[in-house]
């Protein structure tokens, strides 16, 4: 359920919902390639993203509301990414991590890589870098939280 779909004009409740969903983003392990290792490093002790309410990486799309697409999405993988995205319950958010999923990255010359995962699923936050450091990923998650709370637009 996106903002404004409630039917009744109850801004306080919407604010509370936004606050709730922003601070309990449960990511899905969508580790496709190199960035997955940095995603694991973000989850690990050094830069524990549990501090942001992203407590654990869920392995089931039904239990998660944030999909971090970490790594190159190939053409063969794209339909599967889409299917997993469709299986996630609303409200759902997507983070594109790494340049491969932003615009194809180093594989722009190739034949089997999707030039940007936003052609497959709608993306909320893009994190450039190859691969982005765990700090950069954490900043991306903070950007998403701000976006959910309508605090940022860049």
């Amino acid at each position: 359920m996106k903002n404004g779909d409630l039917g009744i004009k109850t801004t306080t409740i919407e604010k509370a919902l936004e606050w709730g969903s922003a601070n309990s983003l449960w990511p899905l392990t969508m580790g496709l390639a190199c960035c997955a290792i940095e995603m694991m490093a973000t989850q690990a002790a050094d830069l524990d993203i549990a501090r942001f309410g992203s407590e654990i990486f869920r392995n089931s799309p039904r239990q998660s509301d944030l999909m971090i697409v970490a790594g190159t999405t190939t053409k063969r993988m794209a339909p599967r990414v889409k299917r997993v995205y469709e299986e996630m319950p609303y409200p759902k958010y997507v983070i594109a991590m790494g340049v491969c999923v932003i615009q194809g990255g180093p594989y722009v010359d190739g034949y089997s890589v999707v030039m940007g995962v936003d052609k497959v699923v709608p993306v909320d936050v893009y994190i450039p870098g190859c691969p982005p450091s765990p700090q950069a990923l954490t900043y991306g998650i903070m950007t998403l939280q701000k976006k959910i709370k309508h605090e940022t637009d860049r």
Partner: protein
């Protein structure tokens, strides 16, 4: 009458270490057959390598075995430098060796952590990543990149070691040695770990050779094959180390062997860090400016020992600035092909442990 169940594992499954699909044919809980589907991470690196200049391809080799980037670069560079008759200064070779071994440690740590996760052991994962983070900090100090380092280049390494890096490596090793024993202890004193691994995933040596398996998987079957010993590259013939082998042939033996290899890697680094000579870290012939435009001619097949085994690179040049053909002999590709043999007759829960023990990296299988 036999009644079969078909079960799909993957492509997105936490236990397959990446994106791979296993189609398992089950009779009750016993595995009859495993069919592997590859290609979900086929990034056409070999084709792009043909379109690029020689030195630009480092980017793609970094991302093949993405947790062992230094060894991948080394595999490509040993081939290309032979192709161009380029000599590498001694200092650069020692630096490369230290970095390759450090990265082997880092890659093993990821492997061990994920192996623990497969069995529901969450604690070793965190401890492994704490240590890996320290290695990556050394990489950043040296090269500026955390994981995909792009540190080596044709004719040497991009940036020189300074005293701080050497100190940091020494300090890291001092801390790491007891830490490794602790991580090892976390696994080895656990009964569940023993019960899930002892006698599981048996790989006979003749089967392993037939399938072209290399690396810890082959050494775990009792065949002492390591490229560092077989055809020493860099200065591996100037340092003392052991090639551990195990005749136990199962997951347990392989696990102990991997940890033993890490201890040997530490030994290599300790010896080589004292031996780094002064001098240039880059071949002047390939010195910066237009170094990336070098011609290569002829053909060469070069191999190095990566974390998964023998990583071979075949490069064919035709006298121009771009390679005519680059082909990679991927160790993980061979290793994964033996999983159906190892898993046959086992329980479905054992398949997960076997995949964890084989420890593949998909980026290198599909390329």
């Amino acid at each position: 009458m036999a009644h079969y169940t078909e079960l799909n594992i993957g492509p997105i499954h936490p236990a397959v270490h990446g994106i791979l699909k296993f189609k398992v044919k089950l009779q009750e809980e016993i595995i009859e057959d495993v069919e592997i589907t590859l290609g979900f991470l086929h990034r056409n690196a070999e084709k792009i390598c043909e379109l690029n200049y020689y030195a630009d391809n480092m980017v793609y080799f970094d991302r093949m075995d993405y947790i062992d980037a230094m060894n991948m670069e080394l595999g490509y560079l040993t081939a290309v430098e032979k192709l161009m008759d380029m000599e590498v200064p001694e200092r650069a070779q020692w630096i490369r060796m230290i970095m390759a071994e450090l990265n082997r440690l880092a890659a093993r740590l990821v492997g061990l952590g994920a192996f623990g996760l497969d069995m529901g052991m969450l604690t070793p994962f965190f401890h492994c990543f704490i240590e890996r983070e320290k290695i990556q900090k050394i990489f950043v100090e040296a090269s500026g990149g955390r994981q995909e380092v792009n540190y080596m280049s044709i004719g040497g390494v991009y940036q020189d070691f300074n005293d701080q890096i050497i100190n940091d490596i020494r300090e890291f090793l001092k801390e790491f040695k007891p830490y490794l024993e602790d991580i090892y202890g976390m696994f080895m004193h656990s009964e569940i770990f023993w019960q899930r691994n002892d006698g599981i995933g048996i790989l006979e040596p003749d089967v392993a050779l037939d399938y072209g398996v290399t690396g810890p998987l082959l050494r775990g079957s009792g065949i002492a094959y390591d490229v560092r010993k077989d055809a020493p590259y860099l200065f591996y013939d100037k340092v003392n180390f052991n090639i551990p082998i195990s005749h136990k042939k199962d997951n347990m033996g392989r696990f102990i062997l991997k940890v033993e290899e890490m201890r040997q890697s530490i030994r290599i680094i300790e010896q080589s860090i004292d031996k780094i000579p002064d001098g240039p870290y880059f071949n002047n012939k390939a010195k910066k400016s237009m170094m990336l435009r070098l011609k290569g001619d002829g053909e060469v097949f070069s191999r190095v020992e990566s974390e998964n085994g023998e990583f071979g690179v075949y490069v064919r040049g035709n006298g121009t600035f771009k390679p005519w053909r680059v082909h990679v002999r991927s160790p993980a590709f061979k290793n994964i092909s033996v999983v159906p043999v190892m898993a046959k007759g086992m329980m479905i829960a054992d398949l997960i442990v076997i995949i964890g023990s084989v420890d593949t990296v998909i980026g290198e299988i599909d390329r």
